[in-house]
């Protein structure tokens, strides 16, 4: 007679668990691994990034473009593994906000929450702008009369309306659309790149890796730019409630997003570096390297295919970023950080409609205002991605600092996890500083916009902290197991702790 057999036959009552999760109301355990993966991949938008980031990296690090991307991938993988330490242990909808609060407490949790909201919000705006830019570009090339700011604004409005409808209708639909759109766009770009590589012929690894002229400063700057192409990989961690087997699927999706995006970027970088070497032109001064290469290798028609893929990728990115944004806002509503309506769920669709109503005016309004106030769309995209990238990196730094503290608190700290988290936090901090040094050196206004947004966030967090500590007691709530899932579980009475 073993203890396990005895426990099964005559379970002792366990009173630690509640009758329902604090995050009740969402469509619980409804999407599988590939939909969760699609969420993260969509937020990264690798198809769009693969075509743009290589050019940006080549601009600052022409000799070590490929190596910069490899370094950024390694750093992202370390951060992904650190975030997985949380994702393996708690099913949350608040991503880095909930995780940081669990490790470092209220102040840092709110800071990470503000940072990741800025990240998801700004990237959602960036994706809406990018989608509008590419769709307008495609329309214009088919019907030249269609160009101009009017079309741009109309496409922007149509995109925002589509994303809003999809988000309200439910996670099954939104994640499936993201999955299909993202799979198509990644496949289009990957096929184009592979065909290009095949036409380019044999490549010289030493030449592609830039081992001849090694420049550490350029390599660092290039890696920082490349890092912005990876951010968003953690957004599967906002589906902790809605994913099936979340403690397995969410961490797996986070790590695989980094691997898949890294693979695609590497393919893109090798194809472009080798391709421009072969045709004897400088990559960093090309306006549209993929199109130029496609034309040079007799694949002119493929340029349009790539553009369609990129436009689709932006749309999926808008869905993914907004999904993540609304889940974090929803969690804050339930935590008592925001007013209760933010935590409202749709009774039938199980979607966080309170958060959707809160988020949409901002993420669709700001791009409109930017365009109306005479910003060039590419400048607007640059500013939004810089703000978003900064938000993500700040949130990553905080969550990496929080991880070892959290693991120690629950008594599961290991040397490996501590080293990974500490290295990630240190390198990310360096990267953040380098990012703005690079950006400011290029004469961009982005750094000032970021500082202004950061100041606003700091003021918001401080006001909330002063507003009353008791109301922040529930910060860090997650999708706790309920009593019925526990052997011998007897639901604790409401009010006797927790929710």
């Amino acid at each position: 007679m073993t203890a396990l057999e005895r426990a099964i036959a005559r379970p002792d009552p366990v009173h630690d668990f509640g009758a329902r999760s604090p995050l009740y109301g969402l469509d619980r355990r409804s999407v599988g691994f590939f939909d969760v993966l699609a969420q993260s991949v969509a937020a990264v938008a690798p198809a769009a990034a693969a075509t743009t980031v290589v050019l940006l990296v080549a601009g600052v690090s022409p000799s070590a473009t490929v190596l910069s991307i490899v370094l950024a991938a390694v750093l992202s993988l370390l951060v992904a593994r650190t975030i997985s330490q949380f994702a393996r242990r708690l099913a949350a909808a608040g991503s880095t906000y909930t995780y940081t609060a669990r490790g470092l407490g209220r102040g840092a949790g709110l800071a990470a929450g503000a940072a990741i909201l800025v990240g998801y919000g700004a990237i959602a705006m960036f994706a809406l702008l990018g989608g509008a830019y590419y769709v307008t570009f495609l329309l214009e090339s088919a019907w030249p009369a269609m160009g101009g700011p009017g079309t741009l604004a109309a496409v922007l409005a149509a995109e925002a309306a589509f994303v809003a409808v999809v988000l309200v209708r439910g996670i099954r639909i939104s994640s499936r659309i993201a999955l299909v759109v993202e799979a198509i766009s990644v496949a289009l770009i990957a096929v184009l790149l592979v065909v290009l590589l095949a036409r380019i012929g044999p490549i010289d690894p030493a030449q592609v890796l830039g081992l001849g002229a090694f420049d550490p400063a350029a390599l660092a700057a290039g890696s920082v730019i490349a890092l912005t192409a990876f951010v968003g990989f953690e957004s599967a961690s906002t589906l902790g409630v809605e994913a099936r087997a979340p403690l397995r699927n969410v961490p797996r999706a986070i790590v695989w997003t980094v691997i898949l995006s890294g693979g695609l970027y590497l393919l893109a970088a090798v194809a472009q570096v080798a391709g421009f070497d072969a045709i004897g032109a400088p990559l960093e001064s090309s306006a549209s390297p993929i199109n130029q290469l496609a034309a040079a290798y007799g694949l002119g028609g493929w340029g349009v295919v790539a553009d369609i893929g990129i436009a689709a990728s932006f749309l999926a990115c808008a869905i993914g970023s907004t999904t993540a944004l609304t889940r974090v806002l929803f969690t804050m509503g339930r935590d008592g950080v925001l007013a209760a309506p933010a935590g409202r769920a749709h009774p039938r669709f199980g979607t966080p409609i309170g958060a959707v109503a809160l988020a949409f005016p901002v993420i669709s309004g700001v791009p409109f205002l930017l365009l109306m106030s005479g910003f060039d769309i590419r400048d607007a995209m640059h500013v939004t991605i810089a703000v978003g990238g900064a938000g993500y990196i700040v949130a990553y730094i905080l969550v990496c600092v929080a991880a070892p503290v959290f693991l120690r608190r629950i008594g599961e700290v290991t040397l490996g996890a501590t080293v990974e988290a500490s290295v990630s936090a240190a390198v990310l901090t360096g990267a953040l500083v380098a990012f703005f040094a690079v950006d400011a050196a290029s004469g961009s206004v982005a750094v000032w916009v970021v500082l202004a947004v950061a100041a606003l966030a700091v003021v918001g967090v401080l006001l909330r902290l002063r507003g009353g500590t008791p109301s922040l007691e529930r910060i860090g709530s997650y999708d706790e197991p309920v009593a019925s899932q526990v052997l011998g579980g007897v639901a604790r009475r409401a009010g006797s702790g927790g929710d």
């Binding site: 396990l4 099964i8 002792d12 099936r244 087997a245 008594g411 899932q485 526990v486 052997l487 011998g488």
Partner: protein
């Protein structure tokens, strides 16, 4: 719960399965709220290994983390393991000889059950006169003569069963499951007199109404089974 099967088992992983079961065993032993450190100490496993096993078991919901995330409790899903873990109980050949003799002496079904941790587990059902419902016997012991003995032992039997046992040293079921059929059961005792199981007869109801002939076979059989099955 999952949309696809979990990790599949290969022939190289039996050790991992063994470790996983010992972890569950440790949580059962330590009780709900045991921490990862306590579990790794209890098992003498390296900490990193223990944490990895714990996280895998939590992913599959065999374990649940307590709301403070530091402790573990058995998940309701471990009940599924019980069916796998409880292998078929088998009688020794000496015991089977005793049962075979009883079957020859009584024209009717003779069944042997064990009482394992408060439940009836069938050890040897008569192949010629099958038990009416083995699952129900485990779930609703109060409906069967064999189960009523268990309840007598536990002190929770209904008054008629207690009276039967006081008068006959046996429990009966008289046409309550199938009209015209009845059952008689006598306890198999260990050296201290505790019931470790029962041997039962099922057959025509009149032989249970007037059980002296049946008891004259069952009682010696139960007495000789005692030392053979404990």
């Amino acid at each position: 719960m999952t949309d696809r099967p979990g990790p599949t088992l290969t022939a190289r992983q039996p050790k991992a399965v063994h470790s996983a079961l010992t972890v569950l065993e440790a949580v059962a032993h330590l009780g709900a709220g045991a921490t990862a450190r306590e579990i790794s100490l209890e098992l003498g496993l390296p900490r990193a290994t223990a944490y990895r096993l714990l996280n895998l078991l939590v992913q599959d919901e065999y374990l649940m983390r307590t709301p403070d995330l530091a402790g573990f409790a058995l998940g309701a899903k471990v009940v599924q393991l019980a069916a796998v873990a409880a292998g078929p109980a088998r009688l020794t050949s000496a015991a089977r000889g005793v049962v075979a003799e009883a079957r020859t002496a009584l024209r009717g079904g003779v069944h042997v059950v064990f009482f394992v941790d408060g439940r009836v587990r069938v050890a040897d059902a008569d192949p010629d006169f099958p038990l009416s419902d083995e699952v129900r016997l485990a779930r609703e012991p109060e409906r069967f003569a064999l189960g009523r003995l268990l309840l007598v032992e536990q002190g929770s039997a209904a008054a008629p069963s207690r009276q039967d046992f006081a008068e006959l040293g046996a429990t009966r079921q008289l046409g309550e499951l199938v009209p015209g059929y009845g059952c008689v059961a006598v306890p198999i005792r260990d050296a201290s007199g505790r019931f470790v199981g029962a041997v039962g007869f099922s057959g025509a109801r009149h032989r249970a109404d007037e059980p002296s002939q049946v008891l004259s076979v069952l009682e010696p059989a139960a007495a000789s089974l005692g030392p053979l099955v404990v």
